[in-house]
Symmetry: C2
Subunit: 147 residues, 2 copies
């Protein structure tokens, strides 16, 4: 079993897609994360759902639970619903890091090691300079536990 | 909107649950992760799906993509399907870290900050020393993008 056997179509977003649109895509299509593509259609980043959420949280609340706690309920609601003004570009991590991208020949062991190491529930699969789609953690587990 | 309004029932596992059973639960119930409970039924850890997968990957392949690559396809398949002999206890991270657990009063901002900080797609919710269930990233995003 290889990446090409487990890959499925996966929606992509661009760097200038709004965070609201990205969140809507995650919500309505029940995706574990997003593939961000560059102008050539190749994956430039993989964004776990939790990191899309990060943009709804003001900087001063990011690291300090006590500061998130003092924001009252109406304002907390407002923050979470004010995702439209920002773009996916702003949600990307600042430091370079290993991306969960594999070629279509990757074995299930390579996919599992990559997901575990990058803590990403999806791996983007490329073949001959083209994005094929993604292997999700769900697809990998479904295969692993199948009789 | 508070944690108590978004919480849903969530299956739990024990420290001695087999990793195969944990993977089966993730797969069949399409869960983003697992709540591991102690003998009192209280959350002792939260295990993202990617970390359950980690136990199927031999130590020498965890950090080095080149070593995962040399394992041939039949053996790679075998590794991924040999989850039954190990327990959830072995899948837990060795270093102590912040757990995504909140009380039922937490606002959506606190939940979002906690998910972003711990990179966890679920938060376990406790009230008066009892586990109520979990708020998932999906439930939080569904609420945030709802008109």
């Amino acid at each position: 079993m290889r990446a090409r056997d487990l890959v499925t179509d996966f929606p992509t977003v661009a760097l200038d897609t709004s965070v609201y649109e990205a969140a809507r895509l995650l919500s309505t299509q029940r995706l574990p994360g997003l593939i961000v593509v560059d102008e050539r259609g190749l994956p430039s980043s993989i964004l776990p759902g939790t990191q899309v959420l990060r943009l709804a949280v003001p900087d001063y609340c990011q690291e300090d639970p006590a500061l998130a706690r003092v924001v009252d309920e109406p304002h907390a609601d407002l923050f979470l619903r004010s995702l439209s003004g920002r773009t996916v570009r702003e949600a990307l991590p600042r430091e370079p890091r290993e991306l969960p991208i594999s070629d279509s020949d990757a074995t299930v062991l390579e996919l599992a090691a990559l997901m575990a190491r990058t803590r990403s529930p999806l791996v983007a699969v490329v073949q001959e300079g083209r994005l094929l789609g993604a292997v999700t953690l769900q697809a990998l587990l479904d295969w692993a536990v199948a009789a």
